[in-house]
């Protein structure tokens, strides 16, 4: 009986350690990249005009602000019917940077002052510090367009993968 208990404890701890490792490390729990997320309406509605931004790129307060101003969405009318809008807002909130335990989301979130609600990822201190070696002219290249076009250089951006090894800055 005692042996059985020991065996059980052993198995449980191996499994726990295994899943910790699989998720990308100790301490921060969620690994360095954002986890895959999916929602059919988010995917359809939020990628018809621009690349699909992972919810882990901004905290809940930012998504809420953005989703209540869709009729003036960075200069364009992107309004949705209320059912669709509410579903997407909920999905974004649930997976937002302040609800994620991956390293990048946490750092983005930590770089935002408590009294600020940015709606542009490219205005967060985290983004600015990560891109400070790039001159403004690079972002203006025709192949890139602007700093909001993550996918021009980070090909895994839509899946939340911004790892160093995946970066290729086009000419």
């Amino acid at each position: 009986m005692k042996n059985w208990m020991q065996f059980l404890v052993l198995i449980t701890s191996i499994t726990a350690a295994g899943s910790l490792l699989a998720s990308g490390g100790m301490g921060e729990g969620g690994g360095s990249q954002m986890p895959p997320v999916s929602n059919v309406k988010w995917k359809a509605e939020c990628s018809s005009c621009h690349m699909l931004y992972h919810p882990g790129l901004l905290p809940e307060k930012s998504w809420n602000k953005l989703m209540t101003g869709l009729d003036h969405h960075f200069g364009e009318n992107a309004s949705l019917d209320t059912v669709t809008r509410d579903e997407i807002t909920k999905f974004l909130a649930l997976n937002s940077a302040d609800k994620q335990d991956n390293r990048r989301s946490s750092r983005i979130n930590q770089s935002i002052p408590a009294n600020a609600t940015p709606v542009r990822i490219s205005e967060t201190r985290y983004f600015l510090s990560k891109h400070d070696e790039l001159p403004a002219s690079t972002f203006k290249r025709k192949s890139i367009g602007s700093a909001s076009n993550c996918i021009a250089c980070h090909k895994g951006a839509e899946n939340g993968n911004f790892s160093e090894s995946q970066i290729r800055v086009p000419r």
Binding site: S47, S48, C49, H50, M51, D71, G75, E76, N77, A78, S79, G145, S148, N149, A152
Partner: protein
């Protein structure tokens, strides 16, 4: 009994999800007559000039449908955020004008972006009439 439900369901779903450009034109015609008792049909020519007509937006930039859709509706367009837009003309993109809700959603957004007001049923009908006539 059960099969009549199936048929009813089928009819309903066709009505809701799958329209044809012609069916949409009929719906806009009904609306246009309500908006204007002197309505005298849709015009492909009017739709063509509507598609290319530039106006000064209050933000100081000139804008038209063709700003994003290009002057030739058989071409792919591009959004301001660099995303590809499939061609508007059904001759090259048969998916166009087959989903009433989608059509209304985009008229709703884009009319406000370009004209800074809603489009009339007359304008919507002219626009579709022009695009279905593009060969």
């Amino acid at each position: 009994m059960r099969s009549s439900f199936v048929i009813l369901g089928l009819l309903y779903s066709i009505n809701v999800f799958a329209a044809t450009p012609q069916a949409l034109l009929k719906e806009y015609e009904v609306q246009a007559k309500q908006e204007n008792s002197a309505f005298s049909g849709f015009s492909s020519d009017r739709g063509a000039s509507f598609f290319r007509m530039e106006r000064m937006h209050s933000d100081g930039k000139k804008v038209s449908c063709s700003t994003c859709h290009t002057a030739d509706p058989r071409n792919q367009g591009k959004t301001r955020a660099n995303k590809l837009i499939e061609p508007m003309a059904p001759i090259v993109n048969p998916q166009r004008f087959t989903d009433a809700a989608k059509v209304e959603k985009w008229f709703g957004r884009n009319c406000k972006d370009v004209l800074e007001r809603a489009c009339t049923a007359q304008e919507k009908g002219d626009y579709i009439q022009y695009l279905v006539n593009v060969k």
